[in-house]
Amino acid sequence: MLWYKAWLETRARFLASLATLTLFSGIFVHHAQALVRPEWKTDFYRLLFVNQQFLVIMWVLSVVLLGMGGIVREKAVGTSSLTLALPVSRAHLLGVRVGMGVLQASALGVVPWVAVFFLSSLAKRPILINQVFSYVLLLVGGGLVYFAMAVLVSSLVAGEYTAPALAFGVVLLGAIVFDSWLRQFNVWRLVTGDFSIDRSTYLLSAHLPWTGILASLSVAVLMLAVSIIVVQEREF
């Protein structure tokens, strides 16, 4: 039933995000032809790459919002004593919340791209399934670090507006700092496919940046581990 609670707490945010991302992708692809410029040689795949850029922005915003909440926020709204009196460990509570968030973040990556895949097929512009798979993998595998960061922030900061503001600030600052000085480690570019795209065909390389994805996932796991420690140490 903790999963049910986690679902009830996040379903509005999740469904709104899912609808937004899917509708955006659908509409974007539907109007793709009108957007294609004459100088683009590989028009449609270039559009898919552009679609991923927009999708990443909205996906990151969504997963950061999904990472908000939890027991620290519950303390601020006064329900933490109900949750903490349950015969469940704090690590378990956080684990369920993270599990639900990861599932939702994955769905937010998969569903819009599946919609793009089917809409493209319907529009007689079928796209390679491996391209869809790669975009989703980059988005979810590389991007979960943003969700983990949001969970960590929400374990440290209770404010309804402070926590998301801080999390978005970290995303923005991270993008600027890494792009300026540590470009090869910039997760944003990893997730958008910037490191993997072939600029002549606008197809993602078959050799995905696994090292980058695994490194990003490792950082995400580390952040979640720190979140567990923070929540276990915290007083309510």
């Binding site: 039933m1 609670k5 009830l8 004593s81 109900l82 015969p87 469940v88 007083e235």
Partner: protein, 297 residues
């Protein structure tokens, strides 16, 4: 083991910076009885309860509930299977309906009693389909109590359980608490409603500024505490009555009131020795005992 206290603390202390919320608390709550935990606002009652349930860590000292160390995360998890807690502000998830809340809570306790749930739902007239956030304070209190009673705990910890209830609801709650206690459930509850406490409690603990001032059975308190009203010919000689057992002396001209917990006979004897015109001895209610105890400190 049957007579072991359900709650036992030794020099339990909690400080927030320079502020001491609970200090050297030695508490022993007996099994199968109703223990009232009294104290003014900010006396440290809720802090103590939160320490018992592992929500906050003691600064010093130790404590056990059912013999499980409250500071050990694993042991605290085990003890929470056996304890039902209703917090002061009756926290509930506003986004759930009454029905969802009950289903959610029942999933954690295999001993959940559907009969109790059904009976309390009927008696409390709780609307199953209503969102918790739309319920009145009284309804929320009733739902919180239902969740606590239906899981059939061995220990009920209630922080201001009657807050928000109407007189009928309070009466029903008191009856349920007495019935649960008779069934072998230990009840540890805090309340500012002394009249309620006096009706159902077997034992009373009074906390003031984080210190335990009193830990005695209600019968013992009733038997030992007396107010002795004295009238003298001349201004009342207060200093003559400062003897062991005298909690407080109130003097107004030739009249004097002595509040004593022991040595009542010695006070009376001294009054006669000092030619008191009138000597009247009256038993003290819990309310007066509480007020005298906290005033004195």
């Amino acid at each position: 083991m049957k007579n072991d206290p359900v709650i036992l603390t030794r020099l339990l202390t909690k400080s927030y910076g320079n502020t001491v919320a609970v200090q050297d608390l030695n508490l022993s709550v007996g099994r199968n009885r109703i223990t009232a935990f009294l104290g003014r606002n900010g006396a440290g009652k809720s802090t103590t309860i939160k320490m018992l349930l592992g929500m906050i860590r003691p600064t010093a000292g130790s404590g056990t509930v059912f013999g499980k160390q409250i500071t050990d995360a694993e042991e605290n998890l085990e003890l929470r299977h056996r304890v039902a807690y209703v917090a002061e502000d009756k926290p509930l998830y506003g986004y759930m309906t009454v029905e969802q809340t009950i289903r959610f809570a029942s999933s954690f306790y295999p001993e959940w009693c559907a009969d109790v749930e059904k009976r309390l739902l009927h008696d409390y007239e709780l609307p199953l389909r209503r969102k918790v956030k739309t319920l009145s304070k009284g309804m929320r209190t009733k739902l919180a109590l239902l969740l606590a009673f239906a899981r059939r705990p061995e220990l009920l910890i209630l922080d201001e359980p009657s807050e928000g209830l109407d007189p009928v609801g309070i009466e029903y709650l008191l009856k349920v608490l007495v019935a649960r206690s008779a069934e072998g459930v230990s009840v540890f509850f805090s309340s500012h409603q002394i009249a309620e406490v006096e009706r159902i409690a077997d034992h009373v603990c009074i906390l003031e500024k984080g210190r335990l001032l009193m830990d005695a059975s209600l019968d013992q308190l009733r038997q030992s505490y007396r107010r002795i009203d004295l009238v003298f010919h001349t201004p009342a000689p207060e200093c003559e009555f400062r003897i062991s057992g005298v909690q407080r002396i109130q003097t107004s001209g030739r009249q004097m009131s002595v509040f004593a917990s022991e040595n009542i006979d010695a006070v009376i004897e001294r009054a006669f020795d000092l030619n008191a015109v009138s000597v009247e001895v009256a038993p003290l209610g819990l309310r007066d005992i509480f007020l005298e105890t906290v005033k004195e400190n």
